[in-house]
Symmetry: C2
Subunit: 223 residues, 2 copies
DNA sequence: CGGAAATCTGACCAATCGATCAAGATTTTT
DNA sequence: AAAAATCTTGATCGATTGGTCAGATTTCCG
């Protein structure tokens, strides 16, 4: 299906009330879908529940998004786009300690601010990524290759201990996203509804310290 | 429902063919259920598909397990019991470096040997653990409290750097289980169907080294 | 052997699901 | 103001689901 294969988008008006209203309601539907997909997965989510949370009749939801699959794809795409630029500071000329600490801190922040999209993505991966097409083996793989190359250049320059760059990235992903994906477990174990922003900062500092020291780096005093 | 609330179990025979056959078929059903739950989650899993993989009619499956919920509970219980004793070496008198390295190594091994149950559990947690009752906030919480106490005793004895014990455990869980739960992502990014046992050993060594150094410990030469 | 208990199974059911449709309401364009 | 385009909605459909049930078959044991 083409991107603009929906009525109204190519109407003659130059971004009038119609388009603004349409964008607004689509955002509301996507947010509702996000939370339902996160709670129940693709199979468990029902369009009726999504419609209910978006406060529109189910038939109207299918006017804006033809199929549940299309809705899910849009949610996934939104998540992925959000994640594309969190490691921009990982560049050859950067200071490894600072760049990694910044990356870890940013990922923990994201886990705190947007845990729901993270859970949708995690659920998709756990079930073998049946709806992600070739994204993992093409775009994400290229992204990892390029970041691994940067880390390898840091190692070659003697800036840090010799570690496998890709598995280091997996470890950072796991250690940070666990605070979004497995929040229910962490909350239950710690015995508190949710962590405070202060506690998230403490977590970011500890994860940074362990990984940086593990890489033979000295954690920066301030991030 | 009581544990032995099924026909045949309390028959007069002393562990004859009947009981052995029942145990065998129940195991076959549970294995089938495990894989289906892992691939589709609780909602997405169908009793028809579980029955198909167990090679029995659906009605027969419901003879051994009354409801899908009961089947799911048994799968979850099995997983949890498997995990209960993986950290037995974490004791006050143990050497922190050796104990942690052993724990991490054992968890990576488990991720390699039994990724499917791990995914069922992870899926349950991601969706807020709706079927786990109070397990997380009671038994698991107590388990974590006791292990955290051990780690705190290590710190008090000056054996390792001061870190938050619980978040250290979360980090170990995340870094190890990611190789089971997110295997599809790791495979796609690395461009290989699956890691070799040798590669799992490399992963275990690297995760150990980073975490141990991160805790101010010296990784043991051999685990 | 013979009957009781346990096991197995095809057929079936009520509920729920994603999706469709026709018809009406509203807004925009001419 | 008429026509066209867009939006909204209740009703409904075919497909799938978890679970049931009556009856056939097998196993067990005196």
């Amino acid at each position: 299906m083409a991107v603009n294969d929906q009525p109204g988008v190519d109407a003659g008006n130059g971004g009038g009330v119609r388009q603004r209203s349409r964008a607004s309601i689509e955002r509301r539907i996507l947010e509702a879908a996000e939370s339902v997909f996160a709670e129940a997965g693709f199979n468990g989510a029902t369009t009726a529940e999504i419609a209910r949370r978006a406060a529109i009749p189910k038939a109207n939801l299918h006017y804006y998004f033809n199929t549940k699959e299309e809705l899910y794809q849009q949610v996934l795409t939104g998540i992925i786009n959000t994640w594309l630029h969190t490691a921009d500071e990982i560049t050859p000329d950067a200071d490894p300690a600072h760049a990694l600490a910044h990356y870890i801190s940013a990922k923990i922040e994201l886990a705190r601010e947007q845990p729901i999209p993270s859970r949708v993505f995690a659920n998709e991966i756990i079930h073998g990524a049946p709806h992600l097409g070739s994204y993992l083996s093409t775009e994400l793989r290229d992204w990892v290759d390029s970041k691994a190359k940067v880390i390898r250049s840091w190692i070659a320059a003697g800036k840090m201990r010799e570690v496998d760059p890709k598995h280091l990235l997996f470890m950072i992903w796991a250690s940070t996203q666990t605070y979004a994906d497995f929040a229910s477990q962490i909350s239950a174990v710690l015995g508190k509804e949710q962590l405070t922003p202060q506690e998230y900062k403490t977590v970011a500092r500890q994860v940074s310290e362990i990984i940086l020291r593990g890489c033979g780096l000295t954690p920066p005093a301030q991030i």
